[in-house]
């Protein structure tokens, strides 16, 4: 097995809050991240695929194919968008980086999978100091 990673960038806005709570309660839990008119980030996402090397191409996966999948099913929907209001698969879901990673995984897991490769991880950096990694439901540890 060998692991290939492609980095993607998107710029989005969000407000981190629980709509079942008051503004005061949200402020207590989420601090400035719950400011009513939102804020935003330049997100950096690393998508990693694990697989065997195709002996004809020398690649685990054609990165152009990976780019096309991720751009169509994730980046096009979130880049320069509001994560609370504009993204179909985030409707009704708290826009934390943790939830983004899980929902992104669901969008592309099956499209990446073949009998020779599988989606291994999605890592999202929200800022230079904060990031989240998700390895799917079946894998309990890194």
């Amino acid at each position: 097995l060998i692991y290939i990673t492609r980095r993607f960038n998107f710029s989005a806005s969000h407000r981190v809050y629980n709509p079942n709570l008051s503004d005061e309660e949200n402020l207590k839990i989420y601090g400035k991240c719950s400011n009513p008119n939102g804020h935003g980030h330049n997100y950096i996402m690393d998508v990693t695929v694990a697989g065997e090397i195709d002996t004809e191409t020398g690649f685990v996966m054609d990165l152009t194919e990976l780019k096309d999948i991720v751009n169509k099913d994730i980046i096009y929907k979130v880049d320069h968008r509001n994560l609370n209001t504009d993204v179909d698969f985030m409707k009704g879901i708290l826009a934390s980086t943790e939830n983004l990673a899980i929902k992104f995984w669901e969008q592309i897991e099956n499209k990446v999978k073949t009998n020779k490769r599988r989606l291994h991880s999605i890592k999202i950096q929200e800022t230079i100091n904060n990031s989240v990694e998700y390895y799917g439901k079946s894998k309990q540890g890194k």
Copy 2:
């Protein structure tokens, strides 16, 4: 003269559009940056002060003093905010990075200035690929 630079970070949302134009016209000029519900960035700002070295301290300016000025008059107002709606000094002003740099300059120029030092430049990176630098009205070139 010697130049000292302090870096600041803030995360904000904005929509780049001209309210005098229709959504269609805004889309034509600003593309995805004009999406109605906004998007956001992790902005990186470098504030540069030019001056003589204080022989007692060995510094051009105490960086703690510079941090206090910039945090109070800029960062506190824009970090985790919506640049279109939440910032007093951006009211009625198109939220381009160019305009941010000029308005930021106006907020702090006089507070930095003494007879031994002056604000030299404000550089703002909106993304890893885009940035703006402003040197004030009196200086025509870098």
Copy 3:
């Protein structure tokens, strides 16, 4: 399980040497890192916590809580300090990055742990070229 990471920075000085050996023997083993008056680094530390997402908050762990723990028990003690002489938990311990990672782990492991989350790894970059990762005693591999 999902993994969240928060980055911390600290600037510290140290001398890498074994007090049981002569200066000449230390120089042979540690090279310039054993210079008698010490040197220093801007250390970058990534602290990763593994856990389940809290359905109410959307977070594995409130990053403010993690910051408070790490700042109080590690950063406050090592930042702008001499790692050989100023840090209680490094007394008598060779100030290699490996040992720092293990001792840092010991300071915070129990404070991070709940029935829904645990400390997963501590990664320390000493320079842009050198880093160390530690996953605790119970985990034998990444």
Copy 4:
């Protein structure tokens, strides 16, 4: 177990193509990477060694020893070279980043290994957006 990583840089040229195929077929599979006169990259390689801490030195491995091994057996052979024509261990092998990682592993695995430590991973970044990680034959997952 603790993991230490040393970063190495090299600049090399290559053409990604399968000599058994025509230029047109190569163009279809590899795109601009198959341009006949080649192109190049600043590669960044992270070599990770897993092991126990030597109680006398406080190190998993003397990084100078690791540097000497990697420089002699890898960097000296690929830096400022053409990966298709100049590197003995890449002769007849498609110069993809995946294949580089595997062949680099083979060059140094036995030289790093002792009863207290082993080569854990080789990570190669070809560009800021593309990278590959290899963990050897015996390890099936990260």
Copy 5:
């Protein structure tokens, strides 16, 4: 005046040598950069335009327009190419970073210029450690 900068990336190969000299003389002057089969880099180029802000758009220059100019006249010609053999405007010119900067300037200076803005500088990073800046013929200093 305000300055806007857009970053571009390209990967290219080159051999740095003077065809009027022998391989031995080239080796003496250029070292490993003159290896006969070439090597390569991930070049990073920052293009800076100086101008007044257009009051209608809030921009010095529409960055999409700048991208189109630079991509068509520079990036398309050099990315994934051999700088010695594949680039029309580098024919017969030693492929040093200094010469690249000057020739790139010549390709786009007139296309960027209007009565409200002008090309200010081209900065090219060949590696993380080496870079070149050019400000045109008319400007003698930064």
Copy 6:
């Protein structure tokens, strides 16, 4: 004129304090930077030379020559050293980044200068957030 820049790295310790003042007064002015046992940084220094291109080599200056000068007269003396006690040219001088830049300039200005080139600037980053630039005595502005 064209500008070339070479980056250098060094790791050093220092204590920022004025020996004519008490520890309490130093603490008031310099904060944690005046801690008695010192701290340290990974300094990043960019040395820029301005000059004409040598038509035979295509270079403003052979970077190997620049490296040899800076390594011998600066890096060798400060890397893995204590800036307060170990560096001949810093004796009796407050170890602020401003003073480092000026003293570094003095070490190499004359060795870089020829009738075709001159030292243009020295930029030192003390941390990711703090940096200083010096352009020599004769130049009053950037």
